[in-house]
Amino acid sequence: MTQPGELTYRRIHRASRELLFDCMTMPEHLTKFWGPDGTSTPINGITVDLRPGGAFETAMVNDADGSRYTMRAVYIEVRRPEKLAWTESAVEGGMTTTITFEDLGDGRTQVVTHQTNVPPIMANPDARKGFETSLRRFAEYVVQLRSA
């Protein structure tokens, strides 16, 4: 269940989950699609140590001015082909990304990306209890409030 401060993004791709898992974990694939639009991610700037505790780093270079931004993460779960998770400790108080690959049985795979940026205050179970509104529903709610 998605909660405020979390994001779930679902997407169906026409490919096997093995290929999708490899795309998300092999530098020769990552270099083709990883960085945001307007940046490139050179293959020699990608570190993949594919094991729990191993480094996952991508240096993204801005095409316009050459400035670099490096994402530094550590894998926390590596289970080809169904699940991949990493955590970025330096981002917004700690951001964890979990990707699950679901075989739809017809040559397609649903990729579910779940990103949490749970603030430290959420470690308190009482504070966490009430977190039930999905982020998508919450976003709609915000829109409602804004148009009210």
Partner: protein, 118 residues
Amino acid sequence: MTITADDQLSATFAALADPTRRAILTRLAAGEATVNELAAPFSLTQQAISKHIKVLESAGLISRMRVAQARPCRIEAVQFDNVAEWIDRHRQMWQERYDRLDAHLAELQSAPMPKESQ
């Protein structure tokens, strides 16, 4: 985003965690209301409601007007925008990334073997 803005966002997410507080926000979306008016639909003491209002206020989600003695509460749209912006920013990033992945997959899949005609 600065540390301060992150902390504010954390407080906002925490404030939104509670169903009573979300109900209060829904009521305030319809217009300003006093603490008494906000307490009416709940089986809670006015003191308990005041506590929720304080949390919402320090999270920047509502403000209290100083004009009348009853100090009516109202929604602060700016903080809702910050939450929506966080969501949008991250969703957009993944959407674009998977768009590029699809393009990469199409290239991979068209290269090794000719496509079957449907």
